[in-house]
């Protein structure tokens, strides 16, 4: 299929640059997600987190890059690999971790778990465990923005697997029909659980998923926080100006299994190691920092130390917070 005029691969931008404060912030935010997820993986292994737990390790540049150009009030909604989005939105790591351990101090009092958390204060609309089900909701948020004329944009994330769900196409059609301010961000980490994109998508270029509706799309190097930031800036502006939805296909990679119970035998160790070694989003950010002379290794180690402390506090809180009282099970069902 030839590229549609409305879709394009992002031009390689050689002139990507950022200030010292910006780059150090992105570095810190990505590192927080990585260290948080590593700790969550450990707590899972120790039996403190049960059930399902989908780690974001490897994909950090996507959400941090988008967050960098989001305006106050813009909403974030995503699927089940959601811890990174919550931390990037500014939600408290303690509350997120305590939700993973099913404790009262969690964002949903422990009743939601890893996939099901919200925050009104941070405009975070979940946390959805059904593949693709959040996408029509994201379009609905955008409808409300449009209706209320409040200038907000809905940032609706989903994965390469969800991109095949029928209701995603329903949402795209409605969003374009009504020119809704929504950016559909496809986090293409190349595997829908154990099924590779090649084995499940008739067209593997997911930025063209909106071609039938005339929605422009762009393929983005999702391992480069600055490439993400610049394309997100463009897409969000397009949506905010009333031009309708935009699709960003973030080419990314998850290092860990789909969930904690996935041994990831559908790909080789070399494949994973190769990405870790040559295309890691945090290392790439680090390199930019060194190249620009913004900080040295010692300074970055200090940041890591601070972050490890934040994550330790979150883990301690998540283990110390009590389980919710049994009567909590019956609260917040109906009025």
């Amino acid at each position: 299929m030839p590229d549609d005029a409305s879709s394009k691969k992002a031009a390689q931008k050689s002139n990507l640059s950022a200030t010292k404060d910006e780059l150090l912030k992105y570095y810190r935010d990505m590192l927080l997600i990585r260290r948080f997820e590593e700790r969550a993986g450990q707590l899972y292994g120790m039996g403190h987190i049960g059930g399902f737990c989908h780690l974001y390790i490897g994909q950090e540049a996507v959400v941090v890059g988008v967050e960098a150009v989001k305006q106050p009030g813009d909403q974030t909604i995503t699927g089940y690999r959601d811890h990174g989005h919550m931390l990037a939105c500014g939600m408290d790591p303690k509350g997120v971790m305590a939700e993973l351990t099913g404790r009262e101090g969690g964002y949903s009092k422990g009743k939601g778990g890893s996939m099901h958390m919200f925050s009104k204060e941070k405009e975070f609309y979940g946390g959805h465990g059904i593949v693709g089900a959040q996408v029509p909701l994201g379009a609905g948020l955008a409808f409300a923005n449009h209706y209320r004329e409040d200038g907000r944009v809905s940032l609706t994330y989903f994965g390469d697997g969800a991109a095949n769900q029928g209701q995603v196409f329903e949402a795209m059609n409605m969003a374009q029909l009504w020119k809704l301010p929504v950016v559909f961000i496809i986090e293409n980490n190349q595997y829908a659980m154990g099924t590779s994109v090649k084995r499940s998508h008739s067209d593997t270029h997911l930025y063209r998923r909106g071609a039938a509706f005339g929605i422009p799309g762009m393929e983005v190097d999702g391992m480069d926080v600055l490439a993400v930031r610049e394309t997100a800036r463009e897409a969000i502006a397009h949506a905010r100006e009333g031009k309708g939805p935009y699709i960003l296909e973030m080419k990314t990679y998850r290092y860990r299994g789909h969930s904690m119970s996935d041994p990831a035998k559908y790909r080789t160790r070399e494949e994973v190691d190769n990405v870790r070694e040559h295309n890691d989003p945090i290392k790439r950010c680090e390199q930019r920092i060194f190249d620009a002379g913004y900080a040295d290794e010692a300074a970055l180690k200090d940041i890591d130390r601070e972050i490890r402390e934040i994550v330790k506090e979150a883990a301690d809180f998540a283990l110390e917070s009590p389980e919710p009282a049994p009567e909590e099970l019956y609260t917040d069902v109906l009025t």
């Binding site: 949903s108 465990g129 949402a171 409605m174």
Partner: protein, 337 residues
């Protein structure tokens, strides 16, 4: 006060809500320009504009999914699924999203959304235009389910539904849209304008969700019914001479346990009537409620009169439909016990 059909009463409810509250938007398949397949939204687009009453593509999952997104961010969408039989693509959104967001967001977000759907048979619609799926909603905690039986209730309950902070499924028995059909398919139906419950106030009023209504007081047997079956039960009581107390449940979630138990304790007998198929129909739940709350007051086994456990047939519709003859036979039988 005006004389209204159920269609007009439902339209009037949306009209009143749109007038009073800018957050209310109305959409669905053919809902805007065309005014709805049963004309329930006729004139609303003209009055309130295309931004508040509009057509959606034919995609039920998308309709309900976008409505949930609107509702969590401050709007009060009232959407139409053209027939209840078309709701299955949206069932995922209703059960996994709408019904659960309050619970999993620690009460941060609610879904003040109403989903209207014409339900039930009696119109030769066959298996994809006649279903009564109320039990599928009642089984999902986090949804409220309403089924009115007349224009007065339809308007008051729909206003209550739209103003409610929880997601409400509003099932409209389509055979009742134009008159109180009592199952006598071979006789003309009295129009609503000749029925006392076709008297509907023009303005705002609310019938509370969770309150049953006693349609006929009686001493011998309690009939639990909703929607079209309320009128069938009235005809059956009249024709058999059994002094039945007919309770119109109006909402099945929340359920008015008090009204049910008070009546069955008084009469000692109970017949449950619905049009939906029998196995795991809402009647099974009602039997359990009666057994749990009134066992020592019962003088006879509780009887269910329901649709058969088959797809809704096109031929022999009136054999499938639990009409006054079958309900009458049940009334007599329960009196023998």
């Amino acid at each position: 006060m005006a004389r209204m059909t159920m269609i007009e009463a439902i339209r009037s409810a949306m009209d009143v809500c749109m007038e009073r509250d800018e957050r209310v938007v109305v959409y669905g398949e053919d809902v805007g320009y065309f005014g709805g397949v049963f004309r329930c939204t006729q004139g609303l687009q003209k009055k309130y504009g295309k931004h508040r009453c509009f057509d959606s593509p034919i995609n039920e999952s998308g309709i309900v999914g976008t409505a949930i997104g609107m509702a969590v961010y401050g709007l009060r969408p009232c959407v139409e699924i053209q027939f209840a039989d078309y709701m299955y693509p949206a069932y995922d959104q209703l059960t996994q999203e709408a019904a659960r967001i309050r619970y999993r967001s620690n009460n941060d977000f609610t879904v003040p959304m109403t989903v209207r759907m014409p339900t039930g048979g009696g119109i030769f619609g066959g298996q994809t235009h006649s279903q009564s799926p109320e039990a599928l909603f009642a089984h999902v905690c986090g949804l409220k389910t309403v089924i009115p039986s007349n224009p007065y209730d339809a308007k008051g309950l729909l206003i209550a539904a739209i103003e409610d902070d929880d997601p409400v499924i509003f099932l409209e028995p389509k055979r009742l849209y134009n008159g109180p059909f009592d199952g006598h398919y071979d006789q003309p139906v009295t129009p609503w304008k000749k029925h006392p419950l076709g008297e509907v106030p023009d303005g705002h009023y609310v019938e509370p969700l969770g309150k049953a209504a006693i349609r006929r007081e009686g001493e011998d047997v309690t009939v639990l019914a909703y929607g079209t079956m309320v009128h069938v039960a009235e005809a059956a009581a009249k024709e058999t001479g059994v002094d039945a107390e007919i309770i119109d449940l109006r909402t099945i979630v929340p359920l008015d346990f008090e009204a049910i138990e008070a009546s069955v304790r008084k009469t000692g007998r109970c017949v449950i009537v619905h049009e939906a198929t029998r196995t795991c129909g809402f009647g099974a739940e009602l039997m359990a409620v009666v057994q749990e709350g009134c066992f020592y007051h019962l003088e006879a086994p509780v009887i269910r009169v329901t649709g058969w456990d088959t797809p809704y047939p096109h031929a022999h519709e009136w054999t499938y439909f639990p009409g006054p003859a079958r309900v009458g036979a049940a009334l007599k039988k329960v009196m023998e016990g």
